[in-house]
């Protein structure tokens, strides 16, 4: 490959297998790339089995089957079975759409460990609007079936300005459905969410109120339901330690076999992300340009290079630096030390203005029509 050989790299622990970009839902904050419609090839069952085996041999142990909607792949039970034999802990990350009781049983028998079910809101009207698909009632049925068959269940709710007022009801719903964990994921502004940011970003006051409700609920249900609260980093002074450090822990394989150090990395320019059709996982992890790009701190510019916190946050998120400053080597502008920090303040103000305006533009939903429009014009509007 690029002549690099990083033998000091720690082995991958987490493998995210994005089986397909196909999805029956159209959530406007989807983290899939805006141009997903042009990456419509999918690697074969045999390719996935090889990837799973190679990554497991290196030390990967947590495995997420994701997408798009992973249930669109008919070979899912076969892949789950292979993963179980290799000793993975398998997580199915699903919208629940099309998940029948028979399939739940079949996957359990194949060795699936856990199901993470997304739900978009605590009311049918809002859930079905955000998903752009009638799915609320079915998701609740699926949640009960998941628990009936003895799986641990994470209920994942992405939080944004259209549903943040439902925080209390969302938690009540999760408790009532028997969730073991509820993940309250404040929207991260990549992919489709970046395009819809003005319409999705809550105000600081809304965040604070919602977080207080979640914290109080945490104490109330401490023994039976764990609450994960994914922070809204636009309102923090320091960036998140993205991916626990680039190329240290996480490996994502996209539906067409492209290996990514983070599931948004496809948006970054000139990384030349390698494909599992051309290289082994070991070559990809240790030798590829993409996985070595942000390892260590040689790549850093100021203010990161001389910062005493650089080992804590690794300069933050490179996708965010690229999307908001145009250079992926810049410090994540969330950091108050970044010379570009004003773009975060501008984004917050812009969302606030949009929230107060009487004629907000409509949300852009994640679907093939909009993706193709983006590919043709390199823009959505």
């Amino acid at each position: 490959m690029a002549g690099l050989n990083n033998t000091k790299a720690t082995p991958p622990r987490w493998l995210l297998a994005e089986l397909s970009y196909k999805c029956p839902l159209q959530c406007p904050y989807c983290s899939n790339p805006l141009d997903y419609a042009k990456h419509n090839s999918e690697i074969s069952t045999a390719d996935w089995k090889r990837v799973l085996s190679q990554a497991r041999k290196m030390g990967a142990v947590q495995l997420g089957f994701s997408g798009g909607e992973p249930l669109t792949r008919q070979d899912l039970p076969e892949l789950v079975c292979h993963a179980r034999q290799l000793g993975y802990y398998s997580n199915l990350i699903t919208s629940g759409y099309g998940l029948s009781e028979d399939k739940i049983i079949q996957l359990k028998e194949a060795g699936l460990d856990h199901i993470q079910l997304s739900i978009q809101a605590s009311s049918q009207e809002l859930n079905d609007y955000i998903a752009a698909t009638e799915s609320y009632e079915n998701k609740k049925i699926v949640a009960r079936l998941i628990k009936k068959h003895g799986y641990p269940m994470v209920l994942c709710v992405v939080i944004h300005r259209k549903n943040i007022h439902q925080m209390e009801q969302i938690l009540g719903m999760a408790e009532e459905l028997g969730a073991d964990y509820v993940e309250l994921a404040n929207t991260q502004y990549y992919g489709w969410a970046h395009k819809n940011r003005d319409l999705l970003m809550p105000t600081k006051e809304q965040y604070e109120k919602a977080e207080a409700i979640a914290q109080a609920y945490k104490e109330k249900v401490a023994d039976k339901m764990k609450i994960y609260y994914v922070i809204p980093d636009f309102h923090e002074d320091r960036p998140k330690p993205c991916m626990n450090g680039w190329g240290t822990t996480f490996l994502t394989i996209a539906p067409d076999g492209v290996a990514l150090p983070c599931h948004s990395a496809r948006e970054l320019p000139a990384l030349d992300c390698p494909n599992v059709n051309d290289f082994s996982i070991e070559q990809i992890w240790n030798e590829s340009k993409a996985f070595n790009f942000f390892r260590g701190d040689d790549w850093m510019k100021e203010p990161c290079r001389s910062c005493d916190e650089k080992d804590k946050d690794f300069g933050g998120c490179h996708c965010q630096a690229y999307l908001l400053t145009g250079d992926m080597r810049n410090a994540d502008p969330v950091c108050s030390k970044s010379p570009d920090h004003h773009v975060i303040e501008a984004a917050i103000t812009s969302a606030q203005v949009s929230a107060l305006s009487a004629d907000e533009k409509p949300l852009l939903f994640r679907n093939s029509k909009n993706s193709r429009k983006y590919i043709e014009n390199n823009e959505l509007q």
């Binding site: 030390g59 142990v61 947590q62 802990y89 856990h114 641990p152 073991d180």
Partner: protein, 90 residues
């Protein structure tokens, strides 16, 4: 939730205890997470098989390692394990 010395201890049905060859360690696996265990924690958890009360676990480990006075440390660890949901008592 506190440890009840009169009830048997069972490893949680929604967690998995597993030896990891790559790390040369026992680990607890759960939805999207992993805890690496040191040898003594792993030895304790392996005995949480639904057949032993806490004091039997202490006795078995003291016998296995030909030592005594482990009760306080083991009970402390079981307390933590219970709080984290790794073990259950019914």
């Amino acid at each position: 939730m506190t440890l009840n010395p009169d009830l048997i201890v069972r490893f949680s049905a929604i967690h998995r205890l597993q030896w990891e060859e790559a790390q040369q360690k026992d680990v607890i696996l759960y939805p999207e997470g992993m805890v690496e265990l040191n040898q003594s924690s792993a030895e304790i958890l392996k005995l949480c098989d639904g057949s032993r009360k806490p004091e039997i676990i202490v006795a078995d480990l003291e016998q296995k390692f030909s030592t005594s006075g482990l009760q306080k440390d083991i009970f402390n660890f079981l307390e933590i394990a219970l709080k984290n949901g790794w073990i259950e008592q019914h």
